[in-house]
Symmetry: C2
Amino acid sequence: MMRTLIYPRKESWTCLCRRPGTGGKSTGPAVKRILKDVRRSGDEALFKYTRMYDSVELKELKVPEKEIIESSSKIFPEMKNAIATAFGNIKRFHRSQLNEDEIVETMPGIKCRRKSVPIEKAGLYIPGGSAPLFSSVLMLGIPAKLAGCRQIIMCTPPDPQGNVNPLILYTAYITGITEIYKAGGAQAVAAMAYGTETVPQVYKIFGPGNRYVTMAKEMVQAEGVAIDMPAGPSEVLVIADEHADAEFVAADLLSQAEHGSDSQVVLLTESRKIISEVRSEIKQQITDMPRKDIAAKALAKSMMILLPSPEVCIDFSNEYAPEHLIINTENASELSANVINAGSVFVGKYSCESAGDYASGTNHTLPTNGYAKCYSGVSVDSFMKKITFQELTAEGIRNIGPVVALMAEAESLKGHKKAISVRLVK
Amino acid sequence: MMRTLIYPRKESWTCLCRRPGTGGKSTGPAVKRILKDVRRSGDEALFKYTRMYDSVELKELKVPEKEIIESSSKIFPEMKNAIATAFGNIKRFHRSQLNEDEIVETMPGIKCRRKSVPIEKAGLYIPGGSAPLFSSVLMLGIPAKLAGCRQIIMCTPPDPQGNVNPLILYTAYITGITEIYKAGGAQAVAAMAYGTETVPQVYKIFGPGNRYVTMAKEMVQAEGVAIDMPAGPSEVLVIADEHADAEFVAADLLSQAEHGSDSQVVLLTESRKIISEVRSEIKQQITDMPRKDIAAKALAKSMMILLPSPEVCIDFSNEYAPEHLIINTENASELSANVINAGSVFVGKYSCESAGDYASGTNHTLPTNGYAKCYSGVSVDSFMKKITFQELTAEGIRNIGPVVALMAEAESLKGHKKAISVRLVK
């Protein structure tokens, strides 16, 4: 069960905000070997590792387009409608992230402009395993498409029969992604980073994954391939006041705890009553959860903290920088204005994390492990880069020339000065 | 001198676009040792490494505020005016990068919002050495201030007398940065990443540096501290047509070549005449460059490439993804619309790189080494992260609840479904 802390001293916050850690043994050498192998042997290495880790002998790596299209027949209509609703909301929200060029004439004759340009080649990783994370296909595919990436490929591991779950294929299909490869783990990341005979090389790799995937992404990043963000176990922090419904709070904490035994959930409250109510709600609700063993392990690493006021709760939360922050208080809206560090914020009693995980419109690919202090979640921005342009006229060079010449000289860069002076002369 | 390639086959482009590399020996173990040492011994390690690498025994690490203010008296008025002009242009352009929240009601009762929030603590690294790169103080400090970072600190190595160049202090002062520490190299990066008794820990580290600094930034990034972007030697690619003034083109190539012996400069043109004219201009102009030895080494790694048309030049450039791209052709403006991969683009004959390096308004901290395929240059965005918010009403949860429940169930996450269903019931 979660441990309870009563008014911890501020000096202890940094320590309390440290994540429990995954505790796994080092994956470095194994991942390094896989990367090297895929770089050298390409498809052959992919077939080999799929045999080793996914227990299936594949005939081909690429999912035939026919199979993608046919997935539609395997999805029942109610689910199709649900996916369509999620798709619409996610698209509507992400569309608002597209922006126009900024154009500024900084001085007469000097026009500067910044333009967003899609990253040409994006690679999406979608984990397979027991649960098909088809929601991640929407969360990565929709912004990639809106950004206008020219080539969007997807890697996902096959099941023991060598198939990809139809829900994953179907969501990819309606998102417009048709280049799908059966590859999982570090080998999939390697394939997208280096390219193989079949899998094309991409410039940026996105998506969640286990510690092998995470380590592989970190390693290829050091080699110059961009990645969406560093990753850690999922987490939620709930701030609740005495008016909060303990049943909601408990359900929110448990919904995160079921993600994985390495998840952490945190409750901050000013109310002793809430702590005891939530505690007994959790005890009750957990009993009929299919993933109760996982949730129990996560709870054992988690905390309920009594703090003097909702404002202090926000201060603590800003220090913790949670991936998901649920503010379940009467004044949730005002409190949310003071959030500085968080991935995504759920404001008010009806705003549960599940809504954002699937269908409200916001992205669910978010910074964990305190990374929200310096990283943003995935958005259309993640699939674009910004290029600046400048155009100087003769007047512009006359206006700025002497300034540049003086500064360049002071930095001992005479060649820079010369590039100006040859122009000033003419 | 630069080698010349005539109509290279398209299959060779990838190879031609590969950068020559720094050729330095591995800095990994040395940097790892410094990081560990600073993490453990804090200030003591900083004093030690400053003694070792900057040959000075410091009494204190922090530059006294008095010294920062007094730097103003050491700068002559003409230089102050030049800096003020650059400051104004950079601020005007970067100010246009501030954006408003995006708010979308994705469905009735579901309001989603995205808000830009400054990264609280930013660390700027400014190299010292022979030339005081005070322009980088403007290029990093101005967007940091515009973003609204609460704490902006700066590290820069002292000279052998233990002082920081007054130009660096003065530009910091007018930018509003007053927390300046005398520390250089990997030890400065370590201090900002971990914090010491004197130097505060920051969440993101910015700025150029030698290969020790670059390696240190990469290593702390793997530990979760964000960095501006991966770095490599500086570079320029010039596209010139037969109408281009060879004197301008040669001066532009040389101004980049003088940056460092590991810089690469590339000329693309459809005109044999330009190649021969630029070649003789370079021979002539290089003779009276103070940094001609450096420039000559860079030229030896550089290329002039004859290609069939300006359009093909742009294609090659997009494959190369240059840090700086100068388009010196008659139809420069139209051509520039086809640029996909570049850090910053200089359009037309009067737009020399020097202008953007110092004072036109655009940022000079740009992706090198082909990273422009997936990274942007520094901007106000670099000093902010974006947080999403959502607020659901009872109507909102009724609209979206069944969708979320169905999708969560399909991903085998019953706890997620429960967080919805407890709310739907009430």
